[in-house]
């Protein structure tokens, strides 16, 4: 029996290739006769195209517009409202209108296309926008009664901005016309999304479209839906030119044109008893979808389901709206709606505690969800509900209560001094408690009906899934699950490329589902294979019986139910639970905010690969601190004005405090080896923890990022009672 690999940090499958430089990313690849493509985009936020003029000699160029589309002119996703190339109407800046291609990149870049428009009045305010892509209502109990039971009502409005995914490798693809169809290679998360979009766009059958993921330099959701667009563009040109076509964005184009995190405005009105018990939670959330629906409906769905935070309450009303604005469509980004809504929930929770004069830990202890409790959608939580466990562990580890009181006292005494510039630094410590559902929301996994295959090889097995390795460790983690289930060494399990010509559709690599959902399907394949092998080694089996490939499909756990109409039931198979504590220092002379310590306790069922899990948690925490303190997309007339890394800033190592990560394991009975998801959860907590730390230091912010000018005007006048605390 080989030693188990699950729970050990084995060498990652593609690690050697990456560190030696052997790994090939899309821009490293070329094909004979390859030409380059360029996208001509709208320069106005709303209006109509009047005419297009070419200020160059077009001979030698391939020109493509919507008339060259053989199938339907849409990027097939959910609502199918987004054209692949604009026909007449333009709904946002950077909307693709035309494609040019040429063998010589200089000639391509020099080509001058002039488009005349009739401009219309754009909409920028999501809260007043008349067009809603999706509205969701969640009701539990009777909200009026909840407010009648309350002693105190606390209200608040919270705002979050865009955030750019900023994967290291920009979006890019190569399309090769072949066998009467097309093969697309590219940097992506979801090969089968691209596959489906291409079939619709090009009007081709399944077997004429092949999509192959190349080594991918990060995604964070930014390569969930957008690759369907860029792949469509490259494929259209390749088919028209009958030559391979490369289309790789540079950083500026990638930031201008591709999706970002939805900005949100979230209002809370909460009823609470004197003793801290929540009696009513009333939430109104608006997210800015941008110009087309893309994934806004499902982002909103995850957002509203997480909007209460991990708290129990009998009377809940949540209203969510994803609306249209004339800005580039917003889309998937790690967390998928939950970072926005839990930011609001957790900052609000500290304000509730303050209103009652109790501490932030106590208010959460009283209200945290426990096993057997029901969530806003009525989901009864199992024994793996760990809200209290992560809270207590984090509080103990950080000496939270003592520090929180000490900093609050310091703040209060400082307020008595009336000096013009307040001396020295202020410290604050803040906490956030949060949860994250793993897998697709509601009936999503049933609809996806994902499949995974395992092929027996001489030495062990080969994994066949469309789940992509985008830096997070998919191949390694899947191989570990299969190796241990099958009883072969980790090294004897190979992973096939995510190539739709070879692997079944195991669903998109999103929603923290790749381990818990796809890993479980693979585990079932391996269990069956183990049984088929009996006492034979793989080699013996192949000799005696010939090839063996086992394919299994997702099976919904029998204890799960969901109703999409009433939004009631088991929204997710299960949830991960986490608690963050951020300690910050604010320079009271200069309003510089420096995170100095960060602790996070994550309960994720089982860490299949502890180092990779840790990497996800550290990376997500750093990205969350960027969201809280630095990252600001400047939208000017519907266009990102700071689409360069010199002006859109993310944390450097110097801006990231040491991150103390603790992983707790409370197994989920339907997860492989008990595993839940871990990819997204880490980004839900840092922003509210940091903003609550600022509150503890005397700065009352309700909006992120906390730039110096926002911190400057947020200094709180202390209520008298705090002086005696």
């Amino acid at each position: 029996m080989p030693s188990r690999s699950v729970g050990r940090s084995v060498v990652r499958k593609e690690g050697r290739g990456k560190v030696t430089g052997a790994a090939r990313y899309i821009d490293d690849l070329t094909f004979p006769g390859l030409i380059h493509a360029r996208t001509i985009r709208s320069t106005i936020p709303a209006g109509e195209i009047v005419d297009v003029a070419f200020g160059f000699d077009t001979s030698g160029f391939t020109l493509v517009d919507y008339r060259d589309i053989p199938g339907r002119n849409i990027v097939a996703l959910i609502d199918d409202d987004q054209p692949c190339l604009a026909e007449r109407l333009v709904r946002h800046v950077a909307e693709p209108i035309l494609l040019l291609a040429h063998a010589d990149r200089e000639a391509l870049l020099a080509a001058d296309v002039r488009i005349r428009y009739r401009e219309a009045v754009p909409t920028y305010d999501a809260t007043t926008s008349p067009i809603a892509f999706k509205t969701i209502a969640i009701d539990k109990g009777r909200i009026d009664q909840g407010f009648r039971e309350a002693d105190v009502i606390v209200e608040g409005e919270y705002r979050t901005g865009h955030q750019e995914q900023l994967y290291i490798e920009p979006n890019g693809v190569i399309a090769v016309p072949e066998h009467g169809g097309v093969t697309v290679y590219g940097s992506m998360q979801c090969p089968y999304y691209v596959h489906r979009a291409l079939k619709v766009l090009l009007d081709l059958p399944d077997d004429k479209v092949r999509v192959v993921q190349t080594e991918t330099g990060g995604g964070f959701g930014g390569k969930e839906e957008y690759p369907s667009m860029i792949a469509g563009h490259a494929a259209l040109v390749a088919i028209k030119a009958q030559r391979p076509v490369k289309l790789v964005y540079d950083r500026v184009e990638d930031m201008l044109a591709t999706t970002k995190r939805h900005p949100a405005v979230i209002r809370h009105r909460t009823g609470v008893k004197r003793d801290g018990t929540l009696t009513a939670i009333d939430i109104d959330a608006v997210i800015d979808g941008g110009a087309y629906a893309t994934l806004s409906a499902v982002v909103l769905s995850r957002g509203v389901i997480h909007a209460t935070g991990p708290y129990r309450c009998d009377h809940i009303r949540i209203r969510g709206r994803a609306t249209m604005t004339n800005t580039p469509p917003n889309g998937a980004f790690r967390g998928f709606g939950a970072p926005q809504t839990q930011f609001a929930a957790e900052v609000h929770m500290d304000r509730i505690a303050e209103a009652l004069g109790i501490d932030p830990v106590r208010i959460r202890e009283i209200n945290a969800l426990r096993p057997g409790d029901r969530t806003a959608t009525g989901q009864r939580l199992g024994r793996d509900c760990s809200a209290l466990a992560v809270l207590r562990e984090t509080v103990k580890r950080t000496d939270f209560k003592r520090k929180w009181r000490a900093y609050a006292r310091l703040k209060a005494s400082r307020c008595l001094k009336a000096s013009r510039y307040k001396e020295g630094g202020s410290r604050g410590i803040g906490l956030s408690l949060f949860f994250h559902g793993a897998g697709f929301t509601g009936g999503g996994e049933v609809k996806l009906a994902s499949k995974a295959s395992l092929a027996l090889t001489d030495r062990g097995a080969r994994i066949l899934v469309a789940s992509t390795e985008i830096g997070q460790g998919t191949r390694t983690m899947h191989a570990q699950i299969v190796a241990d289930t099958l009883g072969v060494p980790y090294d004897c399990v190979d992973v096939n490329a995510a190539d739709t010509g070879q692997v079944p559709d195991s669903g998109p690599t999103v929603a923290s589902r790749t381990c818990m959902v796809v890993g479980r399907i693979l585990q079932r394949c391996a269990e069956d294979m183990r049984e088929r092998l009996g006492r034979l080694t793989p080699r013996e089996y192949l000799k005696r019986h010939g090839p063996l490939v086992i394919t299994r499909e997702y099976e919904r756990p029998t204890d799960m139910a969901w109703d999409d109409n009433s939004y009631r039931g088991d929204a997710y198979g299960t949830y991960g639970w986490a608690c963050d504590v951020a300690e910050i220092e604010v320079d009271r002379e200069t309003w510089e905010v420096k995170p100095i310590a960060f602790t996070t306790v994550h309960e994720i069922g089982k860490a299949i690969h502890p180092v990779l899990a840790l990497g996800q948690i550290e990376g997500g925490s750093a990205q969350g601190l960027g969201y809280a303190l630095l990252e600001e997309v400047v939208m000017r007339d519907g266009r990102m004005a700071n689409a360069q890394l010199t002006n859109y800033i993310i944390p450097t190592t110097l801006d990231t405090p040491p991150i103390d990560v603790v992983i707790l394991e409370n197994p989920y009975k339907h997860g492989p080896f008990g595993a839940k998801g871990v990819g997204e959860m880490p980004i839900d907590g840092p922003a509210p923890a940091a903003i609550n730390a600022l509150r503890n230091a005397g700065f009352d912010l309700r909006e992120i990022p906390a730039t110096p000018e926002r911190v400057m005007v947020s200094e709180k006048q202390e209520p008298r009672h705090a002086l005696h605390a």
């Binding site: 320069t43 200089e106 870049l109 020099a110 540079d250 500026v252 013009r420 510039y421 002379e589 200069t590 309003w591 510089e592 420096k594 630095l630 400047v634 000017r636 266009r639 004005a641 700071n642 689409a643 360069q644 010199t646 002006n647 800033i649 944390p651 450097t652 190592t653 110097l654 801006d655 730039t707 110096p708 000018e709 400057m712």
Partner: protein
Amino acid sequence: MHPFSYEKVTNEHEALERARLGKATFVAGGTTLVDLMKLNVEVPTALVDINGLPLNQIEDRSDGSIRIGALVRNGDLAHDSRIQSRYRVLSQAILAGASAQLRNMATTGGNLMQRTRCYYFRDPVYPCNKRQPGAGCAAMDGYNRIHAILGASDTCIATHPSDMAVALVALDASVHIRAANGERVVPIMEFHLLPGDTPDRETVIRPGELITYVTLPSGPFGPRSAYVKLRDRASYEFALASAAVALQLEGTTVRSARVALGGVATKPWRALEAEQVLTGAAANKATFLNAADAALTGAVPRRHNAYKIELAKRAVVRALADALTH
């Protein structure tokens, strides 16, 4: 990026010759020029690589001044022991900028010549008088939180991004310029130009002229100087506001002082008003607060950058306190 020719030169004469041809530009560390070329903001037809010129020394002169070659790397300059002990503010200013890797490439001349980080300047889609005279200014009514509150004109409100140059202004350095027809020396305060009606003209350098040296006079300040930079993140980041100061004390009284501001003005900004307040006054916090107010008296905020006035004042106070206690 557009096509261009590239040639490496080995002496000043050759450099000046080559620079006369077409739209030629010198390249030193290349850390900012190449970025701007990629963004199609700068479109030279020829690059003249001056890294082979013998201008990479830091030399003590007999009059007590220090002469810095235009090709001395920012990192070498900041870590030079003479600079650290006698011109602390300069060392601090350089180390507050960019990153270690960039500083290893960036040169003294290139740093003085670097261009604004205004969003609209760096993105050819927007109208920008600096990039294209007469086109208009997208920042004026646009999002302008990073823009200037001092020295702006109706045509341009972009800040000068350099940290090093702010310290040089405080230290009263001078810049040596070689032209085909001879050499001239320009005080640093006159080197950078206010935007006025010609924001495209940023320095007194004319096309094809070469910076050869920067000299630092032997000042009376010794180690009592400091640079404080306030910015959005801890590294790779330009100043929202910064202050370079130097103090000469007589007992507890300020005998003379220098105050310069960065990140808030269209050129590295000498705050003479603040220096007047300081001169002859007691070296204490109250004086520093008055000096900070004086430094910002002429400030004109725009829609999104009013916070910079207060921020810059605080940088001044902090820097003076630091210089005092050092």
